[in-house]
């Protein structure tokens, strides 16, 4: 009955033409569906470095870093050079990424905690616990101090600088999630502290009062 009705409206030739048009439309829809896709900019951004695992890289970096900490310069000595002979500080202890007036250093020291702020432990280096001259960073860890101060990663080894940049994010995460929490739970004013860390200082406009150091290792001793 239906076929007869259809046949009454369309001849065999018309049916063929309609069938061809439908087939053509289906092909067009199929081709378009497979050639156009929508993706958020954020997804595309993440997709670009999908093969590189920054957390994994940072973990092996951290292991290698432990063997380099013996090179850390004493904080009092470094501060002395910053104040009197910046050129020697840069040449003897600094590590520079590409062409820059900022240089990174591995630094170590011991002192007394003078104050605890939202983003740092303020430390006076022994033996004169007067004014704080080191700020051990405890928050807002965004920089490349550790990656560049260690001097064990070369940007030229990476096909893309995007991968290189994600390393610092992963390293800073190790500091904020593994190194700092046990210390921040118990730390109080007057505690003695031994630290090894990294700092970045601009040779033209050094901001060293106090010197901000991102910790790699921290050891507390009560009053």
């Amino acid at each position: 009955m239906t076929a007869n009705c259809t046949a009454a409206f369309f001849s065999r030739g018309q049916m063929c033409r309609i069938a061809k048009k439908i087939a053509f439309a289906l092909i067009v829809v199929f081709v378009l569906a497979n050639s156009i896709y929508f993706q958020s900019l954020h997804d595309r951004q993440n997709q670009r470095s999908v093969d590189f695992e920054p957390a994994q890289y940072a973990a092996s970096f951290w292991e290698e870093l432990q063997g380099e900490l013996y090179r850390a310069v004493d904080a009092s000595e470094l501060l002395h050079y910053f104040a009197t002979d910046m050129k020697t500080a840069v040449e003897r202890y600094g590590r520079t990424l590409g062409l820059s007036r900022s240089h990174s250093y591995l630094v170590k020291g011991a002192g007394v905690i003078m104050d605890i702020t939202d983003d740092a432990l303020l430390i006076s280096l022994q033996p004169a616990p007067n004014a704080a001259n080191i700020a051990l960073a405890t928050a807002f860890l965004f920089g490349n101090e550790i990656r560049d101060g260690a001097g064990i990663v070369n940007v030229s080894d990476f096909p893309s600088t995007m991968e290189f940049n994600t390393i610092s994010v992963a390293i800073n995460k190790i500091v904020s999630e593994e190194i700092l929490p046990p210390v921040l739970k118990t730390v109080k004013r007057g505690d003695s502290v031994h630290f090894v860390g990294a700092t970045t200082v601009n040779e033209e406009t050094p901001d060293i009062h106090p010197l901000r150091v991102v910790p790699v290792s921290l050891e507390l001793k009560g009053e």
Partner: protein, 313 residues
């Protein structure tokens, strides 16, 4: 007869000696291929590369790729056919431009990248790149400070195929995303283009009229966004942040219209690229594959230390 033959031999000998001397004293041509000359920052980059190349004794020709990878490929074909000595190169696409550089390398023509990166460790002899990520970390920290850790903002991205776009955006977000009261309400590409940025900002303002700030991936977009903001009468409400250190924006920071930018050093990058090409052609081979150049934060507080595209020395 014998005398005339001798004279002919002398003349020919002199001619050939002259030819040989001329050839040996001609150091050849170096191509400067720039992604787009429709942006003042890239004009500075291209002109500085050309000028330094000529100072080093070479002939320099600038090619404008007009942000078009196919046009860039044509330029490389012409450069290879014309047997240039070297290429100072500002790519259009971090992935798409690799094949052009590989082709030049195969033809014995070394390439030296400036500013924009190739996602390759060994296609170019060296890549002199702005440290965009770290520059935008500093800019992000200043952004947080100026907004008092809260508010809504928009972001204008550059070309989505360019690594600089994402290095800047990621550096900025590595800081800003740590503050839950700072909310990004729009993120759109404006292709590093001033006019496009004006259009995009205009539509963002219609959807989000109450935003407090806009972070732009380059200064051309910052100026376009600022124009749209002024047209909407919101220049007192919305803070604009750029990246490049272009003349317009340095002037605007000095006039209190734009809050901050990241200063790149296009002249330094271009000069280094020309000098490295010269060193390569004279036999040096041990180049670092990637050389980041530090980016400096320029604000209304330190603007007196900076000029367009660089620092006051």
């Amino acid at each position: 007869m014998q005398k005339s033959v001798l004279a002919f031999v002398y003349v020919m000998a002199a001619f050939f000696v002259g030819c040989v001397n001329t050839k040996s004293s001609d150091p050849g041509k170096i191509a400067v291929v720039i992604s787009t000359m429709n942006n003042p920052w890239f004009i500075v980059l291209g002109d500085a590369a050309k000028q330094r190349t000529e100072e080093l004794g070479y002939e320099a020709i600038i090619y404008d790729s007009q942000n078009n990878n196919a046009k860039e490929a044509d330029h490389f074909e012409n450069i290879i056919a014309a047997r240039y000595k070297a290429i100072l190169f500002n790519p259009t696409d971090a992935d798409g431009s690799i094949v052009n550089v590989e082709r030049a390398k195969k033809a014995g023509i070394p390439t030296f990248c400036m500013d924009r990166e190739l996602n390759s460790k060994d296609a170019a002899v060296t890549q002199i790149l702005s440290d965009n990520y770290s520059g935008c970390v500093a800019l992000g920290q200043y952004f947080v400070k100026k907004l008092g850790k809260k508010g809504t903002f928009a972001e204008l991205l550059g070309l989505v195929g360019d690594n600089n776009t994402w290095n800047r955006s990621r550096g900025f977000h590595s800081v800003v995303d740590n503050y839950p009261d700072l909310v990004m309400v729009a993120q759109q590409s404006a292709d590093f283009d001033r006019n496009r940025a004006m259009e995009v900002m205009d539509s963002i303002l219609q959807a989000h009229p109450a935003i407090n700030a806009v972070f732009c991936g380059n200064d051309a977009m910052a100026m376009g966004a600022y124009q749209a903001i002024v047209a909407a009468g919101k220049e007192k409400q919305i803070m604009v942040f750029g990246f490049d250190g272009a003349k317009d924006v340095i002037d605007a920071i000095r006039d209190g219209k734009i809050v901050a930018t990241g200063m790149q050093f296009p002249t330094m990058m271009a000069h280094k690229a020309a000098e490295y090409a010269d060193e390569f052609l004279k036999g040096k081979r041990d180049f670092e594959r990637k050389i980041p150049i530090a980016v400096e934060l320029v604000t209304q507080e330190n603007i007196d230390k900076y000029t367009a595209y660089g620092k006051i020395e």
